[in-house]
Structure formats: structure tokens, C-alpha cells
């Protein structure tokens, strides 16, 4: 579309030079294009004499002048961002043409190549788009990934915990990798964005991995959380290889392409938004109803407990520690200022945002400042330079939760904290030791620090050059470079005064773990795009390109123990341990793509990408990823006579994409160790595999788009089949080899599913408009081949319920022991997901809300078991689990321990009012009366996130992951940071 504009302008230029000398009779029309809503002049609009190549464009104030052969004529006025308009002009002289801003027109193109886009109506893939309005219009999300819930079909978005600062997993069209990366590639304005989760070293204290679960349980955020959602103009989601093949080896988990806002020429526009509100736990579990009888009967308590209970009850000193811990209302403040504008040659967008949120646990919170400056400059009519710059500083305090083996995390310690304990500090601020546990939860909460800080700079440059143009062809070059660089610091501080750090209690005298990660991604690419048109409007578009990406990450984590006199400096300690981990990867790729468009009736594309990477054993071996697609627009053929059906597109697309083995998969290395002053080297447990190859995903999708009643009703249906061959699996090998695992290409998996989305505007009149968007999708997976024996992974073993990779079974099945042996007890894959997004406008009121329904999908929930073992479960004495109706739930679950894992596998369905927003747009009359012409528009409103949550799941939230984002093991719960709901008030003013 954009290209077409350039093409037109070139022709316009030629015409303006030559045509006047050839023509005899001419009429000149002058006039102004104005924006309907504001009355401002609309700059740089294309003004074309319909049916000819004669045209011009408006100047910065919206004025234009066009010379035509004869009157009357039809003038067509159009530009990106505005609805196209055609006016009939009968007389020469001054006219005013009003144009309306259009948000839809922004959605009309979708990216299909690295340097090109295509009209949505011609796209052969179901590429999801999210506009700025959909992203943040209803309610501002805490982090970018948190805004993707329910906004499009085919994604499972899941938060790992409720800790402030994010930490989410996004999976597109099912699980795509078992050991390799399963999170999509994020690209912001052409820059490859790092989305690492970097652990803060809490494991030193929690010992969570000591039980043999090597996965990270530190609950870090993932770094896409840094991107400010308010700066985003549009997000496009390529859900699988059929759309993303052109991204080659990094695209198998899908690609999320983010475009940030850019300036428009004309009046400088300023928008200020202030949001304030609070957050609170969506659910607390409550406290067991203790009685003398049930304390006496419990295997967890002894006579001391009983006496303490009686004394505390009689004195009215029973404390609800869960409420004490999670009962806070965290204050949220978010300020957003953006300024945009510019002139004919240069436009800019500046966004400044500051966000400060407290968590539902004291001393937790998230603070982020983001500065963005996007500049576009036309060096000449044919050369355009675009720069995007973003600096982000973020800090999050995340508390100390999840699994441990030391009884020290607040979550685990809470399970053994009974109401009759006194854990509050005395008048001197000294916390008593918890006599029935390793730690005093209030002391831990008040004294520990678990902070992540990031300073990040993301910059992208894009140079568009129109090299050559003629009537039938043109050639364009696009050069692109991007940098994503950050310095990430973690600080985990456990002072000596903590119960579990006190050497008298067996502690190590305080821990200070400080980590620094420097990460730099560089990406460079160059493309040539050639267009060729025939007279019959057959368009051949050819593009070739080269890409090169460099990734460099260096992490150093120093853990000091035995802190000297309350100090935190690493050197003021008795002992220090340092771990450094470096990653380096260099990828090189090329691609070629040919698109053929016959009169927008039939649009076909074929292409291939070749990739090589330093992560492969043979670094210069190319891996090739082909793609092909076809879209047919049936109404365009003209034999269609149903006026109600304005669009019927049939589409089919196939593509392949890859996923590199992770760094170091092909080497066997030693790491350092020491024994009482003697240093040594030890194998790290992984046997290198020099034959390891990238995973290969092959996706076929097909479906149709139906548009009815001038697109007031739209229906999209897509079926996909996604096969992943050569699955990268960290395979457990016989431990008697001396190694624990080897990374192998060990099987294939397949995801099949369908996505339906329906958008409609059921009511639209002057006062009232209702638009609705419904999505429904379902995915099923199967391990179609496994060359190694079936294995358990991703949880705590079969006794407690675990994932199991097994040929012929779902990739996300959950198995566990039962009296009849190992049996399938559940599946993490939901039966289906559905979302229901609505927007209602009545006069000056806007109401929007989004319901999300996840039906089915199971979790492994161990929180209840841990509270049972300590006799503290709120439902301990209820009797609704035991089939015999005899045992209370607590006793029943314990009786099943070692017998059956069934009680620990729970349905994690939920229905949520994910977003709700109600806004009032202050009428311009009132604004004018009050503020004169200073304020252009203003709106006030209220919004909320997760306000209504319906689920049966026996814990804080079915959306949870003890093991973070990656791999298949989301949905395992061990005493997490509880999820929260948010309420916000907003004031937004545009100048």
C-alpha cells in the first residue's frame, strides 16, 4: 500500500513536469483537505484525478492545487490513516475536502516479508493484529505481554505468578519445543528483542533445585516486560511457520512484530494520561478452623501447639497470617506523556512513561521509566530514514516465593505458620524466631531484598531508498540495523539477622547474591524489493535480503555468605562464590520471496530462507526453510452477485521454520568445584552431542475470511497443522554413563487446531455503537514419534504428578502414580479457549470489556499438599474429596501421598473478566467553555483487570508456574506469589 503511494507519487512527479507542456486546455482546482474531527488541515494527502495518473499532494497545511484537463472531475483523496474519499468537482477554484481519520486503515496491511507488507484482504495467513486501542484502550496492562490475553485466537498467555513486574509465558498454537525455546521471537521496529529470564541466585538460600529439579525456580521476569505498551501502535502475531518462515531459524515459536507509534506531520499533538489505582489479591485461601479436637487429632501438632492454641484463642491473639501477608492493597500510579508531530521532511514521536506499582505483599513492587524518541526524516522524496530509540529503566522487588527445600521462602514457610504463633517484632524491632518453622515469614518479608534492575537501550534505524521507478516497475532498497543492549542487575540480600541466616540456627550468617548480566543483540539486514506491473494489473513483487544477527550475553553472579556486621558488599563476607556464564551466537541468513498478485483476485507467494548459525556444530552449514501461500478473493472475480457478501477469501499457506539447539548443546564441559581449599573441575552432567541439528517446524494452515454487510460482520476460520520434526530434547541418559543428560533430536510432535474469530458491529447509529469480537480456538498436540524411551519431565516426579513425553500421547499430558500403576491424570492443554471482547459507545461514554474463558487444562498443584502436611489447609476438615466420605480433605490428600498423584492434578479452568474500562469523553463544548481552545480533548474513566475470576481450582490462581516460562512445565504450583486484580482511575488530556 505504501509502495503504491510512492509509485503514484513518482508518476505524479513525471506528470507535473511533462504534462503541462503538452496540454492545451486546462482547469486548476485549488483547495484544502481538512480532518473532519478537528478541522485541522490534513498534510500530505494524495489528491488524484480519478481514472488518470494526474495527481498531487497537499502541503503541510493541507492546501493543494491540481490542474485538470476538463471539468467536472472526480478527485480521489487518500493517505494512510484516513478513509479514502472521492468528491466530484464541477467548477475550478477553491474547495474544501473533509477526510475522516481511520483506525481501520492501519490494520489493513500485514507484514509478509521482512521488508514488505500486504493488504490484509490479500493475506494468505491468519495473522493476528492488535491495535493500540485494543492493547491499552480498555485498561493499561502492567506489562506488554500481560496485554495479550484474549486479544486474538491461538495464543495461550499465562502468568507465572502474581509478583510485580511480569513473568509470563506466551505460547502460540500449542507447544512447539520441549527443551528448546518455546517463547515467540519479539521484534520491535525491526530490532530483535531479548526476552531472557535471568535468575537472581535465590536458589542458594531456597535450595529449590537441590531435590533434583534442575529448572530455575527463582521466578524471574522475562525481559519483554521492559517494552512500554503505551508506545505501541500495532502488534502483529505470526503464529507459526506458515507465516513466519521468512524469519527462519528463530521463528518456530512464532513471531510477535511490534510497531511503535510515529509522528504525523502537522500540528504538534500532546497527550497526557494519568492513571492511579490499587491492586489486591484475587483470592486468599483462608485459615483452617482450628479446634482442640482437630489439633489433637493432627499428626502435625503436639501438646505444646495445643496449649499455645488455647492460650492464644482465649487471649484473642489468633492471627490470620495469610491476610497479614497478602492483604495489602498496592498503590499503582502510571503517567504517560506523548508528543508527536513534525513537518514535511521530519516527523517525530516522543513518549515518556513512568509506572510505579506496589505489590500485594509489603516491600514488593515494580517501577519503570521509559523514554522513546522516534524520528522519520525524508532525505529526499526517495530516501527516508527512520530512527527508533527507547531507553528503559526498570526495577522490580519480587519477594521470596515458590518452591524451596529449606523452609525459607515466604510461600513455603506460610504453610507451616499457624495462627497461634507470635511472629511480630517487639518494641525494639526484634523479630522472634518461629518455633515451628525455619523462618519467620514477617521477618523474611520485612528484611530480605530480591530486586531486579534493568537499564536498557533499544535502537533501530531503517533506511528506505527508492532506487528506480518507471510505469511498470520500481526497485526499492531497505537497510536496517538494530541494537538491543542492557545491563541487568539482580540483588538478593538475606541479612544475618534472619532466623534462617543466624549461625546459631544453622544459618550461614547472611547471603548477598549480586548478579550482573550484560546483553547485546545486534541485527543487520538489507533488502531489495522489485515491483513489476503488467498492463492487466498483474503484479510481481520480488524481494531478496540478507540478515545477520549477533547475540552476546555475559552473566556474573557472585554469592557472598557470612556477611560482616550487616554489610551487603560482596567483599565484606566470609566466603564468596562466583558463577559466570557466557553465551555468544552469530547467525547469518538470506531469503528470496516472490509474490504474484493478479488483480487482487489471486495472490500467491513463494519464498525460501537459508540460515546458518554458530550454535550448529557445522557453523557454515545452511538450513533452508521454504514457504508458499495462496489467497483467492472470490468476489473480485465479478461473477459474485451476493451484495451482502463483500468479502470471501480462501487462503492456504505452508511454511517451515527452525529452532536452533541451545548454546553449548554440542560440547561436554567441565565446571569448577572445590574441596576444602583444593580446587577442581567436574563434569557438568551434560554429554555433548555434535550431531545436534535445529528443530524443524512445518506448518500448513488454511481457512477463509468472510466479510458481510460491508464488513460489519466478519468471520475468520483457520485450521492448522503444525509438525515439529527433530525435536530437541534434553534426554536423560543412563546415569551410569556419568552424565545426566544429552541434548538430542529425538522425535516429532504435531499440533492441530482451529481458530475462529467473529467480529461484528451489531448496532451502529449516531448515539450508540456496539462492536464485538469473539474468538474461539482449540489445539491438540501429539508426540508422533519418540526415539528415546518415554520420560517424565517438568515437575517433581510421578508421586506428585509430572509431565511425560511419550509417543502417541499428548505432549502436555500429566501422569502420576495410581494404585494401578502409572496413569494419565490430566493434560495441561485446555479443551478450548474463548474470549469475548466488546466495545460499546453511547454518546460520550465508552464501555469496553473482555471476558476470557479457558476450559480445561490441568495443573499440578502442590500448595495444598504442603499445607496439609503442616495441618494448616483451610479445607483440611471439609469432606469432599474422599470417595468414601470419611476423611477430611487434608487427611485424604495425605493418605494418597505415595499412593496416587490424582489429588494433586487439578482442573485449571477459569473464566475471567480480564479487562473492563468505562470512559467518559468530555464534550468539546465543555472543554472550550472551561479551557478555551487549549485542551483539544479529555477523557476520564475507570478500568480494571481480573475483576471477576471464576474457578474451582484449589489455590490462589490456576494461572501459575513454579518453573517460569519456558519448556512445557508451566502450570506446576508450589506456594507462589498470589495473583492480583487491579483497579485504576484515569484522566487523559490531549492538547
Amino acid at each position: 500500500m505504501k509502495k503504491h503511494n510512492h509509485f503514484c507519487k513518482m508518476k505524479i512527479l513525471l506528470l507535473l513536469i511533462f504534462v503541462p507542456t503538452l496540454l492545451l486546455a486546462q482547469e486548476t482546482i485549488t483547495g484544502k483537505v481538512v480532518v473532519e474531527s478537528t478541522g485541522e488541515g490534513a498534510p500530505f494527502m494524495n489528491v488524484i484525478e480519478e481514472g488518470t495518473n494526474n495527481g498531487t499532494s497537499s502541503d503541510i497545511d493541507g492546501n493543494f492545487s491540481i490542474t485538470v484537463n476538463s471539468l467536472p472531475v472526480n478527485l480521489k483523496v487518500f493517505a494512510l490513516g484516513f478513509a479514502e474519499k472521492t468528491v466530484s468537482v464541477a467548477t475550478a477554484g477553491n474547495i474544501t475536502i473533509q477526510v475522516a481519520e481511520s483506525t481501520e486503515s492501519l490494520e489493513e496491511v500485514v507484514v509478509t516479508g521482512l521488508a514488505t507488507s500486504v493488504k490484509r484482504s490479500n493475506a494468505a495467513n491468519a495473522v493476528a493484529s492488535i491495535s493500540a486501542e485494543e492493547l491499552v484502550g480498555s485498561t493499561p496492562p502492567p506489562t506488554l505481554d500481560g496485554a495479550l490475553y484474549g486479544k486474538f485466537a491461538g495464543a495461550i498467555v499465562s502468568a507465572n505468578s502474581g509478583a510485580p513486574g511480569g513473568g509470563l509465558s506466551v505460547k502460540l498454537r500449542g507447544i512447539t519445543s520441549i527443551a528448546g525455546n518455546s517463547q515467540p521471537l519479539y521484534i520491535v521496529d525491526g530490532v530483535y528483542i531479548d526476552n531472557s529470564s535471568i535468575a537472581a541466585g535465590l536458589n542458594t538460600v531456597s535450595g529449590a533445585a537441590a531435590g533434583g529439579s534442575a529448572s530455575n525456580q527463582d521466578n524471574p521476569t522475562n525481559r519483554i516486560a521492559d517494552i512500554n505498551p503505551d508506545d505501541i501502535a500495532n502488534i502483529e502475531i505470526l503464529k507459526g511457520a506458515s507465516a513466519a518462515a521468512i524469519y527462519g531459524s528463530r521463528a518456530s515459536a512464532g513471531v510477535v512484530i511490534i510497531t511503535t507509534k510515529r509522528g504525523k506531520a502537522g500540528k504538534t499533538s500532546i497527550n497526557i494520561t494519568q492513571s492511579n489505582g490499587f491492586t489486591q489479591a484475587i483470592r486468599l485461601l483462608g485459615v483452617r478452623n482450628y479446634t482442640e479436637q482437630n489439633i489433637t487429632a493432627s499428626g502435625s501438632f503436639d501438646n505444646d501447639d495445643l496449649q499455645n492454641f488455647i492460650a492464644a484463642r482465649n487471649a484473642g491473639r489468633l492471627v490470620d497470617y495469610e491476610e497479614e501477608l497478602f492483604g495489602e492493597e498496592g498503590f499503582i500510579s502510571k503517567t504517560n506523556l506523548n508528543v508527536s508531530g513534525g513537518g514535511e521532511k521530519t516527523t517525530f514521536y516522543a513518549g515518556i512513561s513512568h509506572q510505579n506499582e506496589d505489590g500485594i505483599v509489603k516491600r514488593t513492587g515494580y517501577e519503570k521509566t521509559s523514554l522513546r524518541l522516534n524520528i522519520d526524516h525524508k532525505i529526499t522524496d526517495n530516501i527516508k530514514l527512520s530512527l527508533s530509540n527507547n531507553y528503559i529503566q526498570s526495577s522490580s522487588d519480587r519477594g521470596f516465593f515458590n518452591n524451596d527445600n529449606t523452609g525459607t521462602t515466604i510461600g513455603v514457610a506460610l504453610t507451616s505458620t499457624t495462627p497461634w504463633l507470635n511472629l511480630f517484632p517487639d518494641a525494639n524491632g526484634v523479630y522472634p524466631d518461629n518455633p515451628s518453622g525455619a523462618s519467620n515469614i514477617l521477618q523474611t518479608r520485612d528484611l530480605i531484598t530480591n530486586n531486579e534492575k534493568n537499564k536498557r537501550f533499544i535502537a533501530g534505524a531503517n533506511l528506505d531508498v527508492n532506487i528506480y521507478k518507471s510505469d511498470h516497475s520500481n526497485l526499492k532498497a531497505v537497510l536496517r540495523a538494530g541494537i538491543d543492549a542492557y545491563t541487568f542487575e539482580t540483588l538478593a540480600l538475606f541479612p544475618k539477622t534472619l532466623q534462617f541466616q543466624n549461625p546459631d540456627n544453622g544459618g550461614v550468617g547472611g547471603v548477598s547474591a549480586q548478579g550482573t548480566t550484560r546483553n547485546t543483540n545486534n541485527n543487520y539486514s538489507g533488502f531489495l524489493v522489485h515491483n513489476y506491473f503488467t498492463d492487466s494489473n498483474l503484479n510481481f513483487r520480488t524481494q531478496v535480503g540478507l540478515t545477520r544477527e549477533l547475540f552476546d550475553q555475559n552473566s556474573v553472579l557472585t554469592t557472598a555468605t557470612g556477611l560482616v556486621s550487616g554489610q551487603t558488599n560482596l567483599n565484606l563476607s566470609a566466603a564468596r562464590n562466583i558463577v559466570q556464564n557466557r553465551l555468544k551466537q552469530e547467525d547469518f541468513g538470506f531469503f528470496v520471496q516472490e509474490e504474484i498478485n493478479y488483480q487482487d483476485k489471486i495472490i500467491g507467494t513463494i519464498g525460501v530462507r537459508g540460515d546458518k548459525s554458530s550454535n550448529n556444530t557445522d557453523v557454515n552449514q545452511f538450513f533452508y526453510y521454504p514457504k508458499a501461500s495462496l489467497a483467492v478473493n472470490i468476489p473480485k472475480f465479478g461473477f459474485w452477485s451476493l451484495d451482502q457478501v463483500n468479502e470471501l477469501k480462501l487462503r492456504i499457506a505452508y511454511g517451515e521454520a527452525g529452532n536452533f539447539p541451545f548454546f553449548g548443546a554440542n560440547t561436554t564441559i567441565f565446571t569448577n568445584t572445590a574441596i576444602a581449599g583444593l580446587s577442581g573441575i567436574t563434569l557438568n552432567g551434560q554429554l555433548g552431542n555434535t550431531d545436534i541439528e535445529p528443530e524443524r517446524q512445518k506448518e500448513l494452515e488454511f481457512g477463509f475470511d468472510l466479510g458481510l454487510l460491508d464488513n460489519r460482520v466478519g468471520l475468520q476460520f483457520t485450521y492448522y497443522q503444525k509438525k515439529v520434526d527433530d525435536l530437541i530434547i534434553s534426554s536423560a541418559i543412563e546415569p551410569s554413563t556419568g552424565f545426566i543428560s544429552q541434548v538430542v533430536n529425538a522425535g516429532n510432535l504435531e499440533n492441530k487446531g482451529f481458530e475462529v474469530s467473529l467480529n461484528a458491529v451489531p448496532i451502529s447509529n449516531d448515539n450508540f455503537e456496539w462492536s464485538t469480537f469473539v474468538t474461539f480456538f482449540k489445539n491438540t498436540s501429539e508426540i508422533t514419534k519418540l526415539n528415546i524411551p518415554a520420560f517424565n519431565t517438568g515437575a517433581f516426579g510421578a508421586t506428585l504428578g509430572t509431565f511425560r513425553i511419550e509417543e502417541g500421547k499428548s505432549a502436555t499430558q500429566i501422569v502420576g502414580i495410581t494404585p494401578n500403576g502409572l496413569a494419565v491424570l490430566g493434560d495441561a492443554e485446555p479443551d478450548f479457549q474463548m474470549s469475548f471482547q466488546n466495545s460499546l459507545k453511547y454518546k460520550n461514554f465508552d464501555l469496553s470489556f473482555l471476558w476470557q474463558w479457558k476450559k480445561g487444562g490441568d495443573n499440578v498443584n502442590l500448595t495444598a499438599l504442603l499445607t496439609d502436611l503442616n495441618g494448616t489447609s483451610a479445607d483440611y476438615d471439609d469432606i469432599d474429596l474422599d470417595p468414601a466420605g470419611v476423611l477430611g480433605n487434608g487427611d485424604y490428600r495425605q493418605s494418597q501421598l505415595g499412593v496416587s498423584a490424582r489429588p494433586f492434578v487439578e482442573d485449571a479452568s477459569y473464566l475471567r473478566l480480564r479487562e473492563l474500562g468505562l470512559y467518559y469523553n468530555v464534550p468539546s463544548k465543555i472543554l472550550q467553555n472551561w479551557f478555551g481552545k487549549i485542551i483539544e480533548s479529555a477523557k476520564i474513566g475507570f478500568s480494571g483487570t481480573n475483576i471477576i475470576n471464576v474457578f474451582d481450582y484449589n489455590s490462589y490462581d490456576p494461572e501459575v508456574s513454579n518453573f517460569g516460562s519456558n519448556g512445557i512445565s508451566t502450570g506446576v504450583e508450589v506456594t507462589p506469589f498470589p495473583s492480583s486484580k487491579r483497579y485504576l482511575f484515569h484522566l487523559s488530556v490531549s492538547l
Binding site: 531435590g211 533434583g212 499428626g299 502435625s300 501438632f301 503436639d302 505444646d304 532525505i379 527445600n405 523452609g407 518455633p435 518453622g437 525455619a438 544453622g506 550461614v508 543487520y524 539486514s525 538489507g526 540478507l546 540478515t547 545477520r548 557470612g562 566466603a575 562464590n577 562466583i578 555468544k584 547469518f588 554458530s614 557453523v619 553449548g664 561436554t668 564441559i669 567441565f670 565446571t671 568445584t673 572445590a674 574441596i675 576444602a676 581449599g677 583444593l678 577442581g680 573441575i681 567436574t682 563434569l683 536423560a732 543412563e734 546415569p735 551410569s736 554413563t737 556419568g738 545426566i740 520420560f791 517433581f796 516426579g797 508421586t799 502414580i817 504442603l866 502436611l869 503442616n870 501421598l897
Partner: protein, 449 residues
């Protein structure tokens, strides 16, 4: 003109880009540690020292889990962990709970021991290719260290799987040896020890590497050989070969005296608080909570004499502790700091092995040995009968208290078929089954047996 210049600039930019996106990629290699190939094919003497340090360090990995496995099943103590219920359910066979073949208590120690054994076999390979080269005597010394430690590590795994056996041949990861039966496994371990002993006998007077402080007194080829023989003696006892046991004891560091220093003389796992090092995993502070604690099995206190100085291996808690229907008043207190050493094998065990070697053939010598231990504990000379059965009872009783918490009780009861004598804490009733005393751990699932 301006336009032309701009095109030139663009042209240069395009060329620059093509250079940046040039085609060849350099190998990055592994940035985070030396590779196995490097160590085996091309190491220095410094690397060999590091390899030995690594093996000695690795011997301690998951040691706490190993001791908990054998100590809990042997009813020596309870292990409470509020975040892991399986210490009191699976290990004690609570109700219908069974040992799982893919859970940390099975896989963790097993894998760690094989990891160390692998390190030892790499050592034996790598010493052939060093530069500068070792002398043949030096190589023999290093081989002796490697084989002895490998044998000991295999023995610990065999202690877990018992009749399930172990793989003894682990030299080639691509083609591992088969699982051997219990007897064959013991024979293979013995053979490895014998081979190591031969190497040590031809290793001159000094090792080419330093050992950890846990080997103080055993850090020359001659004294390390005594350690090798002590392990061989334990293996012979497990084989029930009392004459071989006598022979090995003669060549070991057995000392028939009973000063406490002599009883404690032996080889130890050592720990420190230094960065990169491990702390004693068997240490918990006194009065630790159910979050993490080892509580002496009540029978230890009930069964030990009131004046027995070995009572000090447990310590009375300020208040009793209860978890999962199990209670105790005494903490397991073998170690009082988190850097105390843990014995691998020490003279007190050798003395009792000496008693065992003689309990049929020479009861007088057996009683002499028993009395050394009894007198050290302050409970006076043995006054019971001297029939083999009576002496065996007494030897097992003394082993129970003398080697408390050092990983022997369960194995001793098993090898004399007395597991049924171990106390059952939760007797069940109704639908609830009583606790079980397991005979052996399953072979880890990942061995694909």
C-alpha cells in the same frame, strides 16, 4: 548534484551492509569451561591435579540424600522436610507409598556416584596424554587413586540397589556394560580394588598430586593402599567371605586400640564454607523445625545404655517435634557444625569388622575387639555368650551405636536378613497399611532396565 551524492552515500552504505552481513561465521566454541576432549587428549599436570580435586569434591555430591536414604530406611533417624513429604512417606513406606524409580532419593545419589566414578575413569585415561608426561610410577599412583575411588562409589550405589545390582563397566557411554547381579557386582568392585592395589604397590613413595585434607595420613601410595584394603575389607564382609575379610584387614589401617583418636582414624569427606565448596549436608542446627531436621529414631534412645557415651550422637531437643505422625525428642547430632567432616571409613568400623571376621573362628579375638569398642563407650566389657549367633548379635548392636548415622544399620540388618527386626512406627489400621521396611531401591528409571 546533491541527489547524485546521496545515491553515492547510499551506495556506500549498501556496500558497507553487505560487508557486515558477510557470509562466514566463526566457531564460538564453548565459553564456559574446558571440554572433555581437551582434558582427555591434551592436559597438563595442573589439569590432572584439578581433575583429582574434582573427583574428591564430587564424592560429596548428594551425599546427604544417600545417608538419608539408608539412615531413614534403617530406622536410625527421621528426616522431616516441610517442602518434601517423601522422606516420611516413600522412604518409610507409609500406608501404600512405595519407592519410586524416578524420584530424587533414587536418582540423585545414584547419578552423583556414577558422575564421580566417571571422573575417576577420565583420570585414568587422561594421565596417558599429558604434557609433560608422567613417569610410570606416577601414573600407577594416579591409577590407584582413580580405581579405588571408582570402586568405592560403585559400592555405595550397590548398597542402594542391592539385588538389583549395578553396571560395573562404564568406560564407554555409547556402550555401557550390563547390570550385574549383587554377587557379581561385589566381585567386580573387589576386582577393581585389587587392580588399584597393584597399581598403588608400584607407585613409589609419593603421589604426583595433592589429595584433600580428608586423606591426611592416607596421602602416599603406601598409606592410600591401606585405605584401599579397608574398603576391600568392607566388601569382603558384604560378600560374607570372612577369611578374605581377615586378609584385607591385616593390610588395612586397622589398629586394635581404643583411644578415641584411634577409633576416629580414617578417611573423611571434608567440607568448608569457601565459595564453590560444599557444607556438611548432614548438619542441622539443634532444635531445627520441621522445615528441615533429622530427628533421632526414638528407639536409639530407648535401646542405648544410659551411660553409653555414644548417646552424645543425639541431643535432647528443647521441645519434641512432630510431623506426619512421627515424633521425637532428640536431634541427630553427629555433626555440630556445617563443616564437620563425615567419615568414609574409620578404624572403629575396622575393629568391628575384625570382630566379625573372628566371631566364628576365634571368639576370643572377637570379644577383644568388641571390648575395645565397649570400653571406649564406657559400658564395660562384654559379658554375654560367645556362640557365633550371640557374638553376631553383639557385633550388630555395637555397629548400630558405633556407626550410627554413618550409613550402616540398614545394610547390616539386610545382610543378616534381619530387616524384620527394624521398628515399625505407624502400624496402620483399618484401610491404612503399616509402614514398610524396604529391602532395596529400584534401579533408576533412566537406566532403561
Amino acid at each position: 548534484m546533491i541527489m547524485k551524492n546521496i545515491y553515492k552515500i547510499v551506495g556506500v552504505a549498501v556496500l558497507g551492509f553487505m560487508t557486515l552481513t558477510s557470509c562466514d561465521i566463526d566457531e564460538v566454541g564453548d565459553l564456559n569451561g574446558p571440554t572433555l576432549e581437551n582434558i582427555i587428549d591434551n592436559s597438563t599436570k595442573g589439569d590432572i591435579q584439578d581433575l583429582v580435586g574434582g573427583i574428591l569434591s564430587d564424592m560429596r555430591v548428594r551425599l546427604g540424600t544417600y545417608y538419608d536414604d539408608v539412615g531413614v530406611i534403617g530406622r536410625e533417624y527421621y528426616r522431616f522436610s516441610s517442602s518434601d513429604p517423601r522422606f516420611t512417606s516413600d522412604l518409610l513406606g507409609k500406608d501404600k507409598a512405595v519407592l519410586d524409580n524416578n524420584t530424587f532419593y533414587t536418582t540423585g545419589p545414584w547419578g552423583a556416584r556414577y558422575g564421580t566414578a566417571k571422573g575417576a575413569s577420565i583420570l585414568v585415561q587422561a594421565i596417558e596424554n599429558t604434557s609433560p608426561a608422567y613417569s610410570e610410577q606416577e601414573k600407577n599412583g594416579l591409577r590407584g587413586i582413580g580405581k579405588t575411588i571408582q570402586a568405592y562409589e560403585l559400592l555405595l550405589n550397590l548398597n542402594l540397589t542391592y539385588q538389583g545390582g549395578i553396571r560395573a563397566d562404564i568406560s564407554n557411554p555409547e556402550s555401557l556394560g550390563p547390570f550385574l547381579g549383587f554377587t557379581q557386582s561385589l566381585d567386580a568392585i573387589e576386582a577393581l580394588l585389587v587392580s588399584g592395589a597393584t597399581d598403588l604397590s608400584n607407585a613409589g613413595s609419593e603421589f604426583a598430586v595433592n589429595l584433600s585434607s580428608g586423606f591426611t595420613g592416607f596421602n602416599t601410595p603406601a598409606t592410600f593402599l591401606q585405605f584401599n584394603k579397608a574398603i576391600s575389607a568392607r566388601v569382603a564382609a558384604y560378600q560374607g567371605d570372612l577369611s578374605a575379610l581377615s586378609g584385607y584387614l591385616t593390610d588395612s589401617f586397622l589398629s586394635l586400640t581404643n583411644s578415641s583418636d584411634d577409633l576416629a582414624n580414617g578417611v573423611y569427606y571434608v567440607f568448608s564454607a569457601d565459595g564453590g565448596d560444599l557444607r556438611n549436608p548432614m548438619f542441622f542446627a539443634l532444635n531445627a523445625s520441621t522445615a528441615g531436621v533429622r530427628v533421632a529414631h526414638p528407639s536409639y534412645i530407648t535401646d542405648i545404655g544410659a551411660t553409653d557415651s555414644r548417646r552424645s550422637k543425639v541431643a535432647q531437643r528443647s521441645s519434641s517435634i512432630t510431623s506426619d505422625g512421627l515424633s521425637g525428642d532428640y536431634d541427630f547430632r553427629l555433626y555440630t557444625t556445617d563443616v564437620d567432616p563425615i567419615p568414609l571409613i574409620r578404624n572403629e568400623e575396622l575393629i568391628l569388622l575384625y570382630a566379625e571376621a573372628n566371631h566364628i573362628s576365634n571368639p576370643t579375638n572377637a570379644v577383644t575387639a568388641i571390648d575395645l569398642v565397649r570400653n571406649a563407650a564406657g559400658i564395660g566389657a562384654y559379658a554375654g555368650g560367645t556362640s557365633p549367633a550371640e557374638l553376631l548379635d553383639e557385633i550388630l548392636r555395637q555397629r548400630r551405636f558405633s556407626l550410627y548415622g554413618e550409613g550402616h544399620r540398614w545394610i547390616d540388618m539386610r545382610r543378616f536378613d534381619r530387616l524384620g527386626d527394624l521398628p515399625i512406627d505407624r502400624v496402620g489400621g483399618g484401610d491404612v497399611e503399616p509402614d514398610d521396611v524396604w529391602v532395596q531401591f529400584p534401579i533408576p528409571a533412566t537406566e532403561n532396565q
